[in-house]
Symmetry: C2
Subunit: 199 residues, 2 copies
DNA sequence: GGTCAAAACGGACCATGGTCCGCTTCCATT
DNA sequence: AATGGAAGCGGACCATGGTCCGTTTTGACC
C-alpha cells in the first residue's frame, strides 16, 4: 500500500541492465589495458569487447577521458580508504609528521604507478575536485595537528602541487632526479613549511 | 669562389617558402583565435585561412597541440625577456626577494591570461623542458642570492608547482580563493621556505 | 640559363572520438 | 498479467586530428 520510504537517497539506483553494462565495460576496459596499454583503449574496442553499442559507452562515461577517470577512481578509492582507516603510518595512529610523510610517499607512488592512465584521463581527472579536495583536506588537518599556523588551506594545496604527475615527470625524466631524491626534496619542503613561523 | 662560412649555426635556415608559410599559419591561427576562441582553431580552418594545405600545418607544427605551443612560445619569450633584461622588480636590479615575488605574481598572471591556450596545448606545453627549466633556474638563482641552503634544485621546482594552471584553477574555481588570496598564500609559502633552516 | 637533389607542398585518405534518434528493455502501477 | 512511460540501447553518421605519397618549389652548383 505505502511506497517504500525515499530513504533520503538523492539519486535513484541504476537500472539493472545499466549496471550490468557498466560493469562489463569497466571489465573490458581493464582487460584491454592490461593487454596492450592505454593505446588499445579505443571506445569502439571497449564497446565491442563488452558486447554493447558504442553509444552505451558514451552514455555511461561521457567521454574517453571519463572512462579513464572511472578506472582511476577505483584505485583512488582504495587509496582514500587507506588514509582514512588503513594501518599507520598512512592511516590513523601514527604521529602527524609521520603520517604527512607517508602521505607524500604514497601519493608519489600512486601517481607514478598510474601515470599512463592519469595522462590519458587529462583534465577530467586533474580537475576532479573530489580527489584534490580530499588530499587537500587531509594535509590541512595534519598541518593543524602539527601546530602550523597561517593559511593552512593554501599551504596544503601548495604541498600537494609538487606531487602532481607533470612535476614528477619533469624532475625524474628531465631533471635527472631519482624517485628517492624527489621524496627527499619533498621532505625538506615539508620541514621548512612546518617549522616556519606564521606571518 | 669560397662558400660562406658555416657560421657554427647548427640548423640550416628554413627555405623561403617554408618560412613564409609558417608566418602565414601563425598569423591565421592568431586571427582565428582572436575571433572565436580556441574552439575555432581547427587544423583545416587554419590551413584554409592561411591558404596552404593541411599537410603543411602538420609538417610545421607536428600536431594541433604543437601549434598551440608555438602560439604560446611567443608570449613566453617576451616574458623570459622581461625576466632577463626587463625593468625591476621582475627584471634585474631589485632585491632578490622582491624579484622572487614579482616572478610569482607575473607567472600567475601569465598562466591565467593564457589559460585557454595552455589547456589546449596540453602536455606538449606542460612538458616543455625549456619553459620549466628556465623558470626553475631563475628561482634557483634567486634562492641562492637569498642565502637559502639545501636542495635548491628541488625547492625551486616546488615553488613553481603551485603556480601551474591546474592548481590555480582548483584554488580559484573550486576553492573559493581570489587571485589576490592565491598570491598572498604563495608569498607565505615563499617566506617559510626562505626562512627555514637547512637540514 | 640549365640541371638536379633535397625540401616542401597539397589534399585525398584513414582512424577515432563524439552525436543522434528510432527501437528495446525495464519496472512501477493497476 | 497488462500497460505506459521513462530509461537505456545501438550503430549509422559526422567532425576533426593525423598520415601518405605523387607533384611542385627552391636554391646550390655548374
Amino acid at each position: 500500500m505505502s511506497k517504500d520510504l525515499p530513504l533520503l537517497v538523492s539519486a535513484p539506483p541504476e537500472r539493472r541492465d545499466a549496471a550490468r553494462n557498466r560493469r562489463a565495460l569497466l571489465d573490458a576496459a581493464a582487460e584491454l589495458m592490461a593487454g596492450c596499454g592505454v593505446e588499445a583503449l579505443t571506445m569502439d574496442a571497449v564497446a565491442a569487447k563488452a558486447g554493447v553499442g558504442k553509444g552505451t559507452v558514451f552514455r555511461r562515461f561521457g567521454s574517453r577521458e571519463g572512462l579513464m577517470a572511472s578506472l582511476l577512481n577505483h584505485r583512488e578509492e582504495e587509496w582514500q580508504a587507506g588514509v582514512i582507516s588503513g594501518p599507520p603510518p598512512l592511516g590513523p595512529g601514527a604521529p602527524p609528521m609521520e603520517r604527512l610523510l607517508a602521505f607524500g610517499a604514497s601519493r608519489l607512488r600512486l601517481h607514478l604507478d598510474q601515470g599512463a592512465l592519469i595522462e590519458a584521463a587529462g583534465r577530467t581527472w586533474g580537475e576532479n575536485y573530489a580527489v584534490l579536495g580530499f588530499a587537500s583536506m587531509h594535509v590541512r588537518l595534519l598541518l593543524g595537528q602539527l601546530g602550523v599556523e597561517g593559511n593552512l588551506h593554501y599551504l596544503a594545496t601548495a604541498l600537494i602541487a609538487p606531487l602532481s604527475l607533470p612535476v614528477l615527470r619533469q624532475q625524474i625524466d628531465h631533471g635527472g632526479m631519482t624517485e628517492q631524491q624527489v621524496f627527499a626534496g619533498w621532505t625538506e619542503l615539508v620541514r621548512r613549511v612546518v617549522e616556519g613561523r606564521s606571518a
